[in-house]
Symmetry: C3
Subunit: 342 residues, 3 copies
């Protein structure tokens, strides 16, 4: 159950209302006026709560769930216990997301500028912004409307931030131009020097990093992730990219639209990703590569070559995924044979 200590509850809603909110369809119209107080997981929900099923791993929980209602793919409707009201959706996870957002819209901080924030007189800040305690905003910074900047975050000179951006606490941003509807979680670092040194046989000479970080709209970046600014051209994060925690993105990297980058991934300098690329956790991509659109890279993969669009790869060094699975099966077979022979 959602803890009211931390979250507002804007319910209850009737199932008819929830069907409208979530774009789903009531399996049985007789349930339209049934009242739902809130949302919960299948194993924790009670008869006044709504749950959802979107991962077959949890099919077993469905049968024993006490949830009053469930958002579900029509093909699983017969597995639900009798008495559970069903909301049918081809995309139950999306329908749940919309419902959850209606029940628990995040509480909006009242627009205000903390007395302890230090804001340069040449900075411009839009309407309805909330600037947290001990925030520092440098000269000529431009911040749009409806932005929230969390406590102790530091926005360096010249940075541009669009509208409706939520920046959490202890974030550092420099040399960055970002769009609107962006979420930066705590500890994000944007725009520091890329890792560039010229070795002259004796020591490493620092190469000035003279590019920027450019971030599109509707981007989310996880806690403690780092995006270095470009060395000459820019580091670019496309619209709708979602980046998890503790990710490293090197200088001059370009991400297309809608890429998903899972935690602890490293993308080395000057590599370009197309649109909707998915990179699994702890995978690494070497520098100066081109990764096509819709490529999927399995967790822990090591990518050292260009990958054509719509390919799925796994392993380190990365192989087409079927080849990687076959290689693992082959190793297993050889191992069994060799053990038998011992």
């Amino acid at each position: 159950m959602v803890d009211r200590r931390f979250f507002e509850n804007y319910g209850p809603f009737s199932l008819a209302e929830i069907a409208a909110i979530s774009g789903s369809e009531l399996d049985n119209k007789a349930n339209a006026e049934r009242i739902i107080d809130g949302i919960a997981t299948l194993d924790q929900a009670n008869s006044r709560q709504l749950s959802f099923l979107s991962n077959v791993k949890y099919n077993d929980q469905l049968a024993t769930s006490k949830a009053g209602a469930c958002i579900i793919d029509p093909k699983y409707r017969n597995r639900a216990p009798s008495g559970m009201a069903l909301l049918l959706s081809d995309n139950p996870y999306k329908a749940f997301a919309l419902t959850a957002a209606a029940f628990h819209a995040p509480s909006t901080a009242l627009p205000s500028i903390a007395a302890s924030a230090v804001i340069h007189p040449t900075a411009s800040i839009g309407d309805n912004c909330s600037i947290g305690e001990h925030v520092v905003i440098g000269s000529k910074v431009e911040i749009g409307n409806d932005c929230i900047i969390g406590a102790s975050s530091v926005i360096q000179d010249g940075v541009i931030i669009g509208h409706n951006c939520k920046i959490a606490s202890n974030v550092s941003i420099g040399f960055t131009v970002m769009g609107s509807d962006i979420i930066l979680h705590s500890g994000v670092r944007l725009g520091q020097d890329g890792f560039g040194f010229a070795f002259d046989g004796k020591t490493h000479i620092k190469v000035p990093q003279l590019g920027r970080v450019i971030i599109g709209n509707n981007v989310e970046i996880g806690a403690n992730s780092c995006i270095d600014r470009g060395s000459g051209s820019d580091t670019v994060i496309g619209n709708d990219c979602k980046i998890d925690n503790l990710v490293q993105i090197g200088h001059n990297v370009e991400l297309g639209r809608g890429c998903i980058i899972v935690a602890l991934v490293g993308i080395a300098g000057s590599t370009k990703l197309g649109d909707f690329v998915v990179v699994g956790g702890q995978a690494g991509i070497a520098g100066h590569l081109t990764i096509g659109s819709f490529v999927q890279i399995a967790a822990q993969s090591g990518v050292a070559r260009d990958i054509p669009a719509q390919t799925i790869v796994g392993g380190s060094p990365a192989l087409p995924i079927k080849q990687w699975h076959r290689q693992n099966a082959l190793l297993s077979k050889l191992l069994k044979k060799s053990t038998t022979n011992d």
Copy 2:
């Protein structure tokens, strides 16, 4: 030698006192009144200092060590140079830990609340707490007795912190309920949104993250590590867990009691670990898995399946450790054969 610039020294102690403190036994009672000024490593200790041997890698250093005394497993007592006083213990590392804590109890900051801290009037703070400069404490936060909150840390609305917790600088905590005797190192991020998006064929729709982070007693979390809050249920860290630096723990993950998670590990969403699981550095565990108690996962392993209790695994994809070693040996053999044939 321990640098008095940074550490207090509460010694000297006699060897009889150290035996009592450390639960070890003097090999030769004649040494009971010998005075020890401090502690040092085997290769650096002098005749007034105490050292310890707990890793066979350092057996060679024992023979040439100038340490006046050494805590040692009885089975190695004959390897010590004559003249070195010996304290015998079945667990020399533990005995050393207790001794070191007696010599160098960390200096306690005098309880005080910095003038620059911003504390919401509805927050409650226990006795004998030390609240650092520029700390921000939100509404309805509850902090127990004897806690230390380091400079520029941010404790968001509603967070609950038990007694005797030490929170370092630049830490961010939200949506979290934590027990007592907890150490959070600098840059820890607790309670940010988990990584949940529903794809609808066009874009990624954010799934509200409505759970919390629940942390037991006697837990330590390393610098810049991140623990996301649950999406619906909670993310749970059991009593006595020790988490190293730069670790990523996803939403809804549950760790049992006494787990050890080494640096740069990633644990994906909804995976459950039993008690006393050990996860080596840079290992990754996929989501929605169950890892039994006392499982050990070697460094850099990639775990994509459930693991039964008391199993040791290695490799990516992870195999039972013996099988992984045999596979590496087999590859080496095949390689030799193929090279000979070339």
Copy 3:
């Protein structure tokens, strides 16, 4: 083109001046007085801008580049389009670095101490330092001349910092003695407890961490990287080491001179690296190992044994690089054979 919003431009310079600054030689002296306004990448530069070629991957861009001038290795001079002025250098990357630094010397913050900084009266701060907003400097801290400390950084009691150090925002430093000409990017954590626990069959007992972090001169450490202090001896980072973002360095680790540690690397406790070791991204090195000078460790390698000097290794577990390449080739061959047989 370099964005004047973020960077000063100290140009223009003539090609003769640039040849002198960069230590390169004009291919055609007739170009000596030609004026260059700034620098840009090969694909973006115009006829008044200078570019460089140091990676054969970009040879194709050379032929179509509109750059007015280019720093280039003499052996590629014939590939340049006619009309492009050439500056010849055996180390074009270094020559470019020197040129870029002349065009765009970073703007120097005027020396000042922010009113919101909290500085202990026993701390000493050198001449011409810039101390940012909300910085905290503890008792007996010593900071040399010409240092910059970024906003919300926390320097704990007793820390020593040399001359001309640039510390970015939201950095935490304790138990550390560092030299001069050091760059710490935002979110760096220095000197927290190492990860040391003694298990007694029931729980994990914390082992006091009583060493320091010692950092030489001319070191750079990337955003959100962590260096734990020693447990008894010190953690040591040698002169000229360059450490990327999100790197974990455990207690008692020693790095020699000029090591390069790429992002997301983990080095476990008590391991010693020689001089000029290069560790690729996401590689891991186990504890208590000795890695010789000039060793190169490929990205994602897992090192579990000592490595003799001047060896190149790859793979997990790491092998000599040729052996690793052969092993990958062998697997590919076996796979093809087995697939044919299916």
